[in-house]
């Protein structure tokens, strides 16, 4: 890994990262607040699960509400912006702009550039997820529900979320390595995320499609079951696998590729 490049990449993305961290913290803070305000209203109502449940979450419990907030499309969009946007543009974008040739004119290996860009993305994702969790803890404290938050389960929730988005990032890095321009790499990566998301949402809405949900990576981000103290280790293993495979592919392919002249 190249520490100097890592510093550059982090510095370059700091404003966008700061905005996303603030957004994630505010969003995480909302979960306990919303739960507290809806608690009384939902108590005496017999609402259908299609309304109270989303993904593996439920508005009837604090952990369920946190889960809904963590699996919400807004969070998906925030984290996918980094995972897909940053990673797919990392190699292909630098190649297209001509900066990759300048980097590789230094005594650095292609693999170190590759790993550094992925580590930068993983760091950014970590900071956003930490912001999300920190917001939840602050919100729970403000609403007097701190004792209802399973704090010991939060590190595993963090890891599960990081594995999910880092695996999307790994796919985007692989797409970036195989393309000379950023646009095709980004299109491919966005399509990958959207297909995964579509399969997961479709399965949750339409029982006939529920059996396909296991093929979506989103289905293996189970914040609800982790917060309820029953983490499925197979989810972690599967996400780790989908993270490692594209990275190994990129690791093998990148040094073998001709770097087209920028243009």
């Amino acid at each position: 890994m190249n520490v100097a490049l890592l510093r550059q990449l982090m510095r370059r993305g700091r404003i966008r990262l700061a905005a996303l961290c603030v957004g994630a913290t505010l969003w995480g803070l909302l979960a306990p607040v919303v739960f507290a305000s809806l608690l009384t209203a939902f108590k005496n109502l017999d609402l259908p699960t299609q309304i109270t449940h989303f993904g593996s979450g439920s508005l009837t419990t604090l952990t369920g509400t946190i889960t809904i907030f963590y699996e919400h499309p807004l969070v998906v969009a925030m984290l996918a912006t980094i995972a897909v946007g940053f990673c797919s543009g990392s190699i292909a974008g630098a190649r297209q702009r001509g900066t990759l040739e300048m980097w590789l004119a230094r005594p650095v290996t292609r693999r170190s550039v590759l790993i550094t860009t992925w580590v930068a993305a993983a760091l950014m994702l970590s900071l956003i997820i930490v912001g999300l969790i920190a917001g939840t803890l602050i919100g729970a404290a403000l609403e007097g529900h701190s004792s209802d938050v399973p704090v010991t389960a939060l590190p595993l929730t963090f890891l599960n979320a990081l594995l999910l988005y880092a695996s999307f990032g790994a796919f985007a890095v692989a797409a970036s390595v195989m393309n000379n321009r950023a646009a095709p790499a980004m299109s491919l990566s966005i399509a990958y995320v959207l297909v995964n998301y579509f399969v997961e949402v479709l399965g949750s809405m339409w029982p006939d499609a529920a059996s396909f949900q296991k093929y979506s990576l989103f289905h293996h981000f189970q914040a609800g079951v982790i917060l309820d103290g029953n983490p499925a280790w197979s989810d972690f293993a599967l996400l780790a696998g989908t993270l490692v495979v594209p990275l190994i592919f990129a690791f093998v392919m990148f040094p073998r590729r001709d770097l087209a002249a920028p243009g």
Binding site: N2, R12, T99, M102, L104, R106, P107, R256, L259
Partner: protein, 316 residues
């Protein structure tokens, strides 16, 4: 200064039968070339001839289809990292992260490779790249200023081998002059400079030797002075009295006389021609210097591909 461990007798660049193909398209064919230590070597050819492909293959950006190359005695593929520690490279389309200022752009590139920046101030001064410009964001730079910055990043760590792809692109004539003076200074310090250009007159001043590439094939490797000796100057002579007969003078051809004006072409040493005029009352004498470009057009300017005449020293 960064030092390589290779002995001084080892050539700076040694390319052996280097070829590069993209599918059925052959971009470079059996390039064989040796660049000696401490020389400025010009790599010439029209746009699209394969100059950048050769350089990018040499530096590992492209994988050679066949052949090999060594830089400072090290294998260009296996020892790439060691080579780049003592090499400065200017790409033909140098680009920077343009949200930072010039200083930061240079610092970041140096830090990435763990390279020093000891010659930055001197190079910036030579290229007329002042402090006030370096404090501005790169996105505000003109094409010429970006090119200056790109040259600085290639030279700031005082490399032993300098590879420049079209270095004067975008530089104004004054800066070009300063740049060549800088190259001569670096050569005098023992650095090896290999640079590509499609403008022959550019290399005439500074290069000891030049290689010419066309359609991916090496056409010639020539000593610049030897090439210039082949040139045919255009001569115009006006005398008081009768025009002399110079047709038998060594090197003189195409003699024409018209209304008191003699024109001819003169190849090689001008001494015999001047001596032939010793007893002539010369009114006016113009000997137009033939540029390297004219020589190349004369010797290598035929149709491309297989019609190009083979040069006597096609490999060095």
């Amino acid at each position: 200064m960064t030092e390589s461990s290779a002995p001084a007798t080892v050539p700076a660049i040694e390319i052996k039968k280097l070829s590069k193909s993209y599918g059925s398209h052959v971009a470079l064919t059996d390039l064989t070339l040796t660049v000696n230590r401490g020389e400025i070597f010009g790599f010439l050819g029209p746009n699209g001839a394969g100059k950048s492909t050769a350089i990018r293959t040499l530096l590992g950006f492209l994988r050679a289809t066949s052949g090999s190359a060594s830089l400072l005695g090290k294998d260009s593929v296996a020892d790439r990292i060691a080579i780049l520690k003592v090499t400065g490279y200017l790409p033909s389309a140098a680009a920077f992260e343009d949200t930072v200022n010039g200083y930061r752009a240079l610092d970041e590139l140096a830090a990435m490779g763990g390279l020093a920046t000891q010659r930055r101030a001197e190079i910036c001064e030579s290229l007329q790249l002042p402090d006030v410009t370096l404090r501005r964001k790169v996105r505000d730079y003109s094409k010429g200023t970006r090119q200056k910055l790109a040259i600085v990043q290639a030279l700031q760590h005082d490399p032993e081998l300098i590879i420049l792809d079209e270095p004067t692109e975008g530089l104004d004539p004054l800066v070009q002059h300063s740049f060549y003076t800088l190259l001569e200074k670096l050569r005098d310090e023992g650095k090896t400079i290999f640079f590509s250009s499609h403008i022959l007159s550019e290399v005439e001043r500074v290069c000891a030797r030049v290689a010419v590439i066309r359609d991916g094939k090496l056409v010639a490797v020539e000593d610049v002075q030897a090439l210039l000796a082949k040139r045919r100057r255009h001569v115009q002579l006006r005398v008081n009295g009768e025009l002399p007969d110079v047709s038998s003078v060594e090197g003189v051809t195409s003699v024409e006389q018209h209304e008191g004006l003699l024109t001819c072409r003169l190849q090689g040493d001008v001494g015999p021609f001047i001596r032939a005029l010793a007893n002539i009352d010369v009114q006016d004498l113009i000997i137009e210097p033939a540029h390297l470009e004219d020589v190349f057009l004369e010797f290598y300017g035929g149709p491309s591909d297989s019609d190009v005449p083979a040069a006597p020293e096609a490999t060095a």
